[in-house]
Point group: C2
Chain length 209, copies 2
Amino acid sequence: MDIAGFTPELLPYFGQAAYFQLGMFENLALAIAIAPDLTAKEALSVAAGRALAKHQGLVAEIRRRGGEPSEVMAPFAPHLDAFREQTAGADWNELLLSCYLAGGLLDDFFIRLSDGLPGDVGPRVAHLLGQDAGTEVLVTHLKAAIGAAPALGSHLALWGRRLVGDTLLVARSALPMEGITAAESRIEPVFTELIAAHTRRMDGLGLTA
Amino acid sequence: MDIAGFTPELLPYFGQAAYFQLGMFENLALAIAIAPDLTAKEALSVAAGRALAKHQGLVAEIRRRGGEPSEVMAPFAPHLDAFREQTAGADWNELLLSCYLAGGLLDDFFIRLSDGLPGDVGPRVAHLLGQDAGTEVLVTHLKAAIGAAPALGSHLALWGRRLVGDTLLVARSALPMEGITAAESRIEPVFTELIAAHTRRMDGLGLTA
């Protein structure tokens, strides 16, 4: 099922998805830089590598169509940079939760949106973005931290609620306004699904969404 | 020709080389974070991916031998963290030069040291570490910056001279002291070669080594 019969324009789709993955990579690299121990650093480096591989796969799709990646990504930089700044968090736990929740939701979203891409592009992109993000380490660390300090759970639950709002705005911004208005009733269920998957991620951490 | 008949112990060799590549990756990720434009960011992400791939290849060698990567790397963390701090530089240009010069010299060094590893391990590691580091983008940016501001050239030449000293100390620390003393006269030519390659990198940038 494609997203309400919505066909994203190819290069802007790739540009936004590629810049998002680059930002994910940068956030994970920041998490590596402030990791409390070498085991965490090492495990996070796997997740950073996965985000980078997704970014590079999307960049390859841009180049394949004669696009210059930096030019194709540029229109999305101000909005996504602001998003990263808002969601980077004040510490290690908030940053990990951001990487896990925003990364999970927007991977889901761009996979969903890829259904509307022409020919074999959609399945290829869905395969690329659907690969294991290597973020199980984030879950392990967050669960341990929440288990050790229950007050952290309610703090991170609030943080998670704020994150999902900001993240859904990024997803909405990938859809042209007229498309949203015309197809609002058909797009709504897609967002409902994205939120349901988000809630499962929160539940998995023992957080109330 | 192996390095003065010196056989490095396998796990410590991999631990130090793996942690060094992780630090290279972290430096390149920092360079991405402060990159002045999207084109630079994008090109640096390729170099960061290469350093990460080398790190992960070395980590795989540690795992293959039943080692726990974080434990095997841990003894080298304090020294290499201090090295990174000393050589991170005060700005974008200094950081790029560090990545290029220290990365180049220590890639050369660990490749050279791999000659003494048993069986097919040496050639496999040399192949891994000898892969294109994707650092041509660093050269391009540094040459452009030096071309635009000749005073920067003498500033960076000084920085390069400081870097090579610190970097050679890291290389020396990979050799046990008794090995160095016993084989000093045979190891010296290897360091001479490393310095010659460093000088070629400096020359390529138009800097006096």
